[in-house]
């Protein structure tokens, strides 16, 4: 559930009045500027995906090993940078044969391409607590521009969390096996949490 920045601001103001040094002159209201800094994406994040199939249903799964950072710019969220890497070897779908197929040369080819990397090139604020992230996704030796929608879900002085969604055409990355039985679009639905560095 998205948490509005205004709500965060209000609650932080309330928290601020209970801080150890309320008398200091820095007692101005916290703003998004206070979120500035570097966050390491932590293991509480959920990197879920789904590929729909003809007739309904589909393959749902997640990746369990990944890393990355949010570098939130002070004053201008649009100058922030998101970097993310995941290890497709760690794909989980609940069916080992599907996982092995995804690891094989037909899909990720994890033996030759152990890492999938995303680096943002442009962040556009789309609302009070939402932004569109544009960046370069590199998978299976191919780099393409992709877009994801992010919604701020959690923020305090140590932790920041985003709900990030987006669809990726797998044909772009030489992973077109199974079309049209399985959709070309991989839908990502991720809860990405960062710990302040």
């Amino acid at each position: 559930m998205p948490v509005r920045l205004t709500t965060i601001t209000a609650s932080l103001m309330a928290v601020a009045s209970f801080t150890a040094h309320p008398s200091l002159s820095q007692a101005k209201a916290p703003t998004l500027d206070d979120a500035a800094g570097r966050y390491d994406i932590d293991g509480s994040s959920q990197i879920n995906f789904k590929v729909g199939q003809v007739g309904g249903g589909g393959i749902s799964g997640k990746f369990t090993k990944f890393s990355g950072t949010f570098q939130l710019d002070r004053g201008d969220i649009e100058k922030s940078v998101v970097e993310f890497a995941l290890f497709p070897e760690t794909v989980q779908t609940g069916e080992p044969r599907i996982e092995n197929f995804l690891r094989s040369t037909a899909v990720f080819d994890t033996a030759s391409y152990p890492k999938i990397v995303f680096r943002s090139t442009k962040i556009t604020r789309t609302g009070e607590d939402t932004a569109q992230i544009e960046g370069n996704l590199t998978a299976k030796g191919t780099t393409r521009t992709e877009h994801f929608d992010a919604t701020l879900t959690k923020w305090n002085r140590r932790v920041i969390g985003f709900h990030i969604q987006g669809g990726v055409y797998r044909t772009r990355y030489d992973m077109s096996v199974g079309i049209p039985i399985y959709s070309n679009i991989v839908e990502f639905d991720m809860m990405v949490n960062g710990q302040k560095h």
Binding site: G55, E95, T105, V177
Partner: protein
């Protein structure tokens, strides 16, 4: 002549026979290749889908074939067959008809019970629903074995059937093979 005559097969029977023969041969080869453990996984996926589409085609044609067989007159056996040979021929043909239905049906059951849950998308045109059977590794293994055993039994029977036809043609010089090749009443 579309329908079977008193001592000749009609074109419907002949076309169904050879279409199904071709499908069985192709499906056996496909089924063998696609289950090799060292096959390229992407090729394997595609071959499985082709196998399923052609397999459903075979099932459809075999259902028509059986209905046609039940509704048609059966040309009399060629002269010179002993009673035992007639019974053997009848038994093999009944068994062939049964297996041509049972093999695709077990294939359908295996696709339906597989925990892979891959839809059967007939030539990428229409989804053929799974049979209402529970999905489990045990059920899938059972139907996989049934499918393989019945398919190889069918292959053996087809070889026997073809060998018998060739024997009739080249050794006995009778019309058994020829009358499945062209529809024509024998002269006189």
């Amino acid at each position: 002549m579309l329908r079977n005559g008193p001592d000749a097969f009609g074109w419907v029977t002949i076309l169904l026979h050879w279409a199904i023969a071709l499908l069985i041969a192709g499906l056996l080869v496909l089924g063998y290749i696609m289950t090799r453990p060292d096959i390229d996984p992407m090729l394997q996926f595609d071959l499985f889908q082709w196998h399923k589409s052609f397999g459903f085609t075979a099932l459809g044609l075999c259902i028509i074939r059986v209905l046609w067989w039940l509704a048609s007159r059966h040309p009399v056996a060629v002269a010179g067959l002993s009673v035992r040979e007639k019974w053997a021929s009848f038994a093999v043909h009944i068994l062939l008809l049964c297996l041509t239905l049972a093999v695709p049906l077990t294939g359908w059951a295996l696709a339906s019970t597989s925990t892979l849950d891959i839809p059967s998308f007939y030539f990428n045109l229409v989804v053929i629903p799974h049979l209402p059977l529970g999905k489990s590794a045990v059920a899938e293994a059972l139907w996989t074995n049934a499918h393989a055993i019945l398919a190889y039994s069918l292959a053996a029977l087809v070889l026997l059937h073809a060998a018998a036809a060739l024997h009739h043609h080249f050794v006995r010089h009778d019309a058994v093979l020829v009358r499945m090749l062209r529809s024509r009443q024998r002269d006189g």
